[in-house]
Assembly symmetry: C2
Homo-oligomer: 381 residues x 2
Amino acid sequence: MITEQGCLARREALWQRIPAEFDTALITARPHLMYLAGFEASATVFNSQESAASLILTREGDAVLVADNAQEPFSRAAFVTERVEPLWYRCVEAAPHRGQLLGQTTAEWLRSRSKSGLAIEFSHTPWLMLAGMTSGPSPLRLHDLDADLRALRKSKHPDEQAQIRECLRVAGEAVAAARRDVRPGMTGLDLYRLVLRVASEVAGRPVHVYGDFVSGPGAEAGGGPASNRSVQSGDLVLLDYSVVINGYRGDFCTTFVCGGTPTSRQREMHAACMAALESARTLLQPGRTGRDVYAACRAPLESAGLGNHFPHHAGHGIGLGHPEPPYLVPESDERLEVGDVVTLEPGLYIPGVGGMRFEHNYIVTQEGPEQISHHSLSLDN
Amino acid sequence: MITEQGCLARREALWQRIPAEFDTALITARPHLMYLAGFEASATVFNSQESAASLILTREGDAVLVADNAQEPFSRAAFVTERVEPLWYRCVEAAPHRGQLLGQTTAEWLRSRSKSGLAIEFSHTPWLMLAGMTSGPSPLRLHDLDADLRALRKSKHPDEQAQIRECLRVAGEAVAAARRDVRPGMTGLDLYRLVLRVASEVAGRPVHVYGDFVSGPGAEAGGGPASNRSVQSGDLVLLDYSVVINGYRGDFCTTFVCGGTPTSRQREMHAACMAALESARTLLQPGRTGRDVYAACRAPLESAGLGNHFPHHAGHGIGLGHPEPPYLVPESDERLEVGDVVTLEPGLYIPGVGGMRFEHNYIVTQEGPEQISHHSLSLDN
């Protein structure tokens, strides 16, 4: 779903942030190979195990993908101007060290391309790719891309928004199936598998799913990984998960009663959460701060006398990472901008009464928030 | 299943390879954090997204794990002498760049620890972790651990062998379920989901599964990812997959007919593959080369006049990577040693007749090969 047009626009935006004296950029972190070139080696095939790749960009518009021969199906699909495919393995000779091969091949190309200065991801670029280039009589100057990429990733391009919508569509069908099929006696792992099965069916390909799959005491504790704990009749079931496709994900939570009806106290909690969600939603406007949104989310919970049971963020940005900017927390001055994709997720956890969290995802537009997740937030099932 | 004793033994073996003038080692690649400290942040929880960690080892025996506060459940389980947990996110302030925080924290610790010289993974260690340490009047000298770790990983320690056996037990129950439940009309994705479901049930936790899930023309082509192609009655179904637990995996293939009986030509192919497997198995002895094993695997296929239909390796090493040394290919002089865990996987692919591959895994011992996978290799289902 990530498009060539999107990749070109993001490369252009990246060059606008890099000081003019730097002529070459090196990208190595996996999410950024998708972000800038639509490249990802699927994690569910043999040839991707311990694989990596690198992307060399020039200010003139070259985009050179370095990925060994075993990643060919994925590099062919990437949006680049040139491909370098060092021979790693062809079932004839013993394969060399895969990371060494990538690092050495990349370093050779960099030496032939970079004349003035090189932009790299300081927190990720492997030492080997810069071997011999940063010392000696005329060392190459380096620019750190970490902050640039983090800033660029915040506001999503149209192809990224479309990809996140697709992740949410898949996740939504899976939670509808979970609501339909959940029964007392099912474990958290059963629910995880059910979601994973439906999500891969709907997506038509293997997908990665992570998150909280809990019930009863697990919901009171606010979440946790899938386990062998069985759902009891009358339990609150809390499902908060993401489906990852092409590196992107939505984020997605609902809570409901399995095999029973909510207590009146649970209904009060639910009503307060719905009010918090709506209050925060109206603040999803360009220019508003994370602090503003958090306060708007918290206010209805305080009014209901439940503020002390809301221990976490009001939400955060989503996309290639999770959580990522903007952070909707009490002390954040980050400002919302058009294109930000955020989740809101008020929750309340009261010992002896129950734990619940409700979440929708939104795109910040000039006209206000557009809700892009559509699952049920009903406490009744 | 990875034990403290195993980690200590592997750290000791690593120090024996590092020249005496280097007093500190830095480990950053994810498989090596498991290998040397039993650390891995689960991919199925929220806090692991875009996470990383580093391990600082000293020749005196210190093992310092640097992993941010959001990875606490996993760092608590690691076998280290000290933990450094920089504060990344606590739902109050906007979180900083996660990789930058790790890199800067690690660099600070390295500066306080490394006096004489630092061993790093040249192909992996991020530039930021060495910032300011390798230039200037008294630059720190560096030793490359890539080759050391590759060599060490080849022969597996007892805890690693136990982990791989567990992966194979889980994979074996999943393939038994696939044989039992496969029906004409099921797609490759159905089979992938079936395997994933049973594997996570048997393992009692989410697991990662990758490999080939194909039938009919896909089997003739030698494999491929799970797709929406439906199994036809009489098709050969080829399942070749790995289940990954704690970073380790077995490797595992079988082929069978769905909804019919094999043709006589298919039975000939099967018999030749069985002979190839047995012939190669007897060569799994310490001191034998990859070339020897490949030749032994190929000979029975040649004798049956089918050598031209065997296009790939006879097998390879498995463990934290896939494939990894030793490579059982025509031009490899790598030698088998006690503790190597290898797979043998003869296969034949004949247009218009069918494609099949059969695989078992073995530990090389002083007394010969021990077969550690136990799934059925019958062509009849």
